[in-house]
């Protein structure tokens, strides 16, 4: 039986505390009645009520959702189609050597370099054509670009685990490619697509750097709003907002884990 030294356990528990104490402080102070300083002034839900009357916060929340939902929709479609294309044609080694690195590029490019490159590219296109003013569309483009890689990864994994037997059976029964794709592959693929989409959604919610660079004056998202507010001073409203963002992210991640577990179980059964 493996057992660890008490000192190792102690260090680990301390590390967990280091990871959690700041977050718990944020939650705790979001219920703090005293506005100034760090003293405890009693319990209140006042700041949460305030949030729902703050036009700027609501707009930022709205923008965050629009950005996450639309970029997830686009990247899920493009990423799924890409994964299917990669897996269902007999690509040779040379072709693979060309497009595998391209697909992995968004995963390995540091966020800030990607963001800066996009801003400059948008700037150049804008000066030539007048299109691509920084704002929601440019943010969506930025998010889709890094999401595609992750969706493709999730869908390819699922395609591999499905194997070729199902489509072979469909073709043996004289199904056309379109028919077998619609009625056999797509339903089997759905859990993988869903997992990829949820991963893309969380990544979009989580992103700050790419949004921060590619945002226009009217397309502030919640992370950008929090970042800007902290520079003016930390307030209980920001704690309340951050608490809500954290709770929402945790919910999405729990859902993601559930669907992954569900996938594994259905795979084990088949």
């Amino acid at each position: 039986m493996k057992h660890t030294h008490p000192l190792i356990n102690l260090t680990a528990v301390l590390l967990f505390m280091v990871l959690y104490i700041p977050l718990l402080c944020v939650v705790l102070f979001s219920f703090n009645a005293s506005r100034l300083g760090m003293q405890w002034g009693g319990f209140t839900l006042h700041w949460y009520v305030d949030l729902f009357h703050d036009g700027m916060v609501l707009r930022a929340a709205m923008n965050t959702m629009i950005l996450a939902v639309s970029s997830t929709l686009i990247s899920t479609v493009v990423g799924t189609v890409l994964a299917v294309g990669l897996q269902t044609a007999p690509w040779g080694k040379k072709a693979r050597r060309f497009f595998e690195p391209l697909i992995n590029l968004p995963v390995v490019t540091p966020d800030i370099i990607f963001a800066v490159a996009l801003v400059i590219a948008f700037g150049v296109i804008r000066s030539l054509t007048g299109l691509f003013e920084l704002g929601m569309p440019t943010m969506i483009v930025g998010h889709v670009t890094f999401q595609i890689a992750f969706v493709t990864l999730a869908v390819r994994n699922r395609l591999e685990s499905i194997g070729n037997e199902y489509s072979e059976a469909a073709f043996d029964l004289y199904a056309s490619f379109g028919y077998s794709f619609r009625t056999v592959i797509l339903p089997l693929l759905l859990p993988g697509i869903l997992a990829g989409a949820m991963l893309a959604f969380t990544l979009s919610l989580d992103d700050f750097i790419i949004s921060f660079f590619t945002a226009g004056p009217k397309s502030m998202t919640l992370p950008i709003f929090i970042y800007a507010s902290v520079h003016r001073g930390v307030t209980p409203e920001i704690h309340a907002l951050s608490t809500l963002v954290m709770v929402f992210t945790i919910l999405v991640v729990v859902l993601l884990r559930r669907s992954e577990k569900h996938n594994e179980q259905t795979e084990a059964k088949s």
């Binding site: 493996k2 057992h3 190792i8 356990n9 260090t11 680990a12 528990v13 590390l15 967990f16 959690y20 700041p22 977050l23 402080c25 300083g37 003293q39 493009v78 990423g79 189609v81 890409l82 294309g85 990669l86 269902t88 044609a89 007999p90 690509w91 497009f99 391209l102 697909i103 968004p106 490019t109 540091p110 800030i112 370099i113 990607f114 800066v116 490159a117 400059i120 590219a121 000066s127 889709v144 670009t145 595609i148 493709t152 070729n164 489509s167 059976a169 073709f171 043996d172 969380t202 919610l205 700050f208 750097i209 992370p223 929090i226 902290v230 930390v234 951050s242 963002v245 992210t249 991640v253």
Partner: protein
């Protein structure tokens, strides 16, 4: 010309149809990445040789000014500022990565030794900070390091800081923020490796009276170093370009290259210099990764 049909995964089809279909499927995705990632990255290289015009736009005259500025030469002669920032970025990223590795070992062993029924819970506990927004995770430290709280009081008690001052902005705060941000990036791959660890080697080592360090060096390290290598890549690359943590916890005195880049796209509005800085960041990151990789390879050669 008629092409013979082949049977591919049960489908009777001409190879050409197969390729054409595959291409229509992968082209949208590939073109998207090429157009919105590969091309912009290439344009960084071009723009870094251009010049800033008076309106903050790009003036397309070829110049090496940005490179000269990068290594410190400007209108007022030479200054070490930019090089200091570059050096500091490498140092902060390297030290943070090292701290993350050192701290991930106890975490990984702790997680791996939990009984199966609540392992999921501990994993979830490690994943929640990992998925929490970086901005929130970072600014949360502003509360913990505030003057009224134990860490600052403790430091004041030992006269490390004046009583009543916060522990930020400071280099220590930057390291705390960095390690807290990147710890899960190393801990998760390391946990996977520790979970698969061959414990009989560890037991054999202890049975042969090897001490803690020898056991680690010869029984644990060889089995986990590929996970550490992955952790280094996952941490070092984002740590090099990090600007949220130094911005919030470090202030102007502890600027890193990420902050310098951000400044070129914010207040200074000097895109060509920003592009040059990004290029430098990319080169330094790649060089550091290659350095680690070559070391790992050298290690391997020595052992075999």
């Amino acid at each position: 010309m008629t092409e013979n049909e082949i049977v591919y995964h049960g489908e009777l089809v001409k190879p050409r149809t197969l390729y054409r279909r595959g291409l229509t499927f992968i082209l949208p995705g590939l073109l998207w990445i090429a157009f919105f990632l590969a091309l912009p990255c290439l344009s960084l290289g071009v723009v870094s040789f251009a010049q800033r015009n008076d309106y903050g736009g790009i003036d397309w005259t070829f110049t090496f000014d940005n490179m000269k500025r990068l290594i410190g030469f400007d209108l007022f002669g030479w200054s070490a500022d930019n090089l200091v920032i570059l050096g500091r970025s490498v140092m902060v990223a390297a030290i943070s990565t090292f701290l993350c590795i050192a701290l991930s070992y106890p975490l990984a062993f702790f997680l791996a030794s939990r009984p199966a029924r609540n392992k999921g819970l501990w994993m979830a506990l490690l994943l929640v900070p990992f998925w929490t927004n970086l901005v929130i995770r970072t600014y949360a430290w502003l509360i913990v390091l505030a003057p009224q709280f134990p860490p600052a009081r403790f430091a004041a008690y030992f006269e490390m800081v004046d009583p009543g001052t916060a522990l930020y902005p400071s280099m220590i705060a930057v390291y705390i923020g960095m390690v807290a941000s990147f710890l899960p990036f190393v801990a998760l791959p390391l946990y996977t490796a520790v979970e698969k660890l061959d414990w009989s080697l560890v037991e054999a080592s202890f049975d042969l009276r090897a001490g803690f360090w020898r056991t680690f060096r010869y029984a644990v390290w060889p089995q986990t170093k590929s996970a550490v290598a992955l952790g280094i890549t996952l941490t070092l690359v984002p740590a090099m370009g990090m600007f949220v943590v130094p911005d919030m916890l470090g202030g102007a005195k502890y600027m890193l290259i990420g902050n310098l880049i951000q400044e070129q796209f914010g207040t200074s509005r000097d895109w060509p210099f920003g592009a040059a800085l990004s290029l430098a960041l990319m080169v330094i990151t790649l060089a550091t990764l290659l350095f680690f990789n070559s070391k790992a390879r050298a290690n391997k050669e020595v052992r075999s």
